[in-house]
Subunit: 124 residues, 2 copies
């Protein structure tokens, strides 16, 4: 568990965090809940802990087909989504992407969301 937090280390918090880290993919709250079902954790706790961890900066989140997905990778990166199997991969951002911010916005860019869409190797 990350030290960057002054929250109580409950059994449930540890379970949720470990689940996202171990899965290595981009689970929804419900997928984490299903994984931890046998532990007796409550659904509300899964939702609470996941969004708390995003606030604390130890997890990231993004929207995908109407639901929030969680990501253990918190450094800036992009995603590739297969339009056939709907799987998601972490991919690198283009080099110097932040220098390509639109002048129209006339603003300091804090972050960006970049998702590439296509058909993955397996589906092709």
């Amino acid at each position: 568990m990350s030290p960057l937090t002054n929250k109580r280390v409950t059994r449930q918090r540890q379970l949720v965090y470990d689940c996202v880290i171990d899965r290595k993919d981009h689970p929804s709250a419900n997928e984490v809940f299903v994984d931890l079902q046998s532990s007796g954790i409550g659904l509300a706790t899964v939702y609470r802990q996941l969004s708390a961890m995003v606030d604390e900066g130890i997890l990231k989140s993004f929207e995908h087909s109407g639901q929030i997905r969680y990501d253990r990778l918190v450094t800036p990166h992009a995603h590739f989504v297969c339009s056939v199997c709907d799987e998601i991969w972490d991919v690198d951002l283009p080099k110097n992407i932040f220098s390509m911010a639109p002048v129209e916005s006339n603003a300091d860019i804090e972050e960006l969301d970049l998702t590439w869409k296509g058909i993955c190797k397996a589906c092709k």
Copy 2:
């Protein structure tokens, strides 16, 4: 109304389309519904027509804080979102962005979603 469709031109379809075109922003289905309330249109019809128009390619859509937003601009472009006022602007994609597709994906890119986030001029 775009000619690219063989759908029946109902009064409701015309109203929904004109609303999105006239607004010039990125309304949700409910915002379109509220605009058209006085016409007596049904909420389900607004949802149906908007998603139909996206399927037909005469409108685009994207997810924004848990809801689907509709965009009259169907050519490839990015968005800038202000983290303070939550307003959304259409902005140009970086030049040659499609040539920067990640090699990891090993796939043909069909499209991409790019959203810049920061504080807009007005909020700064």
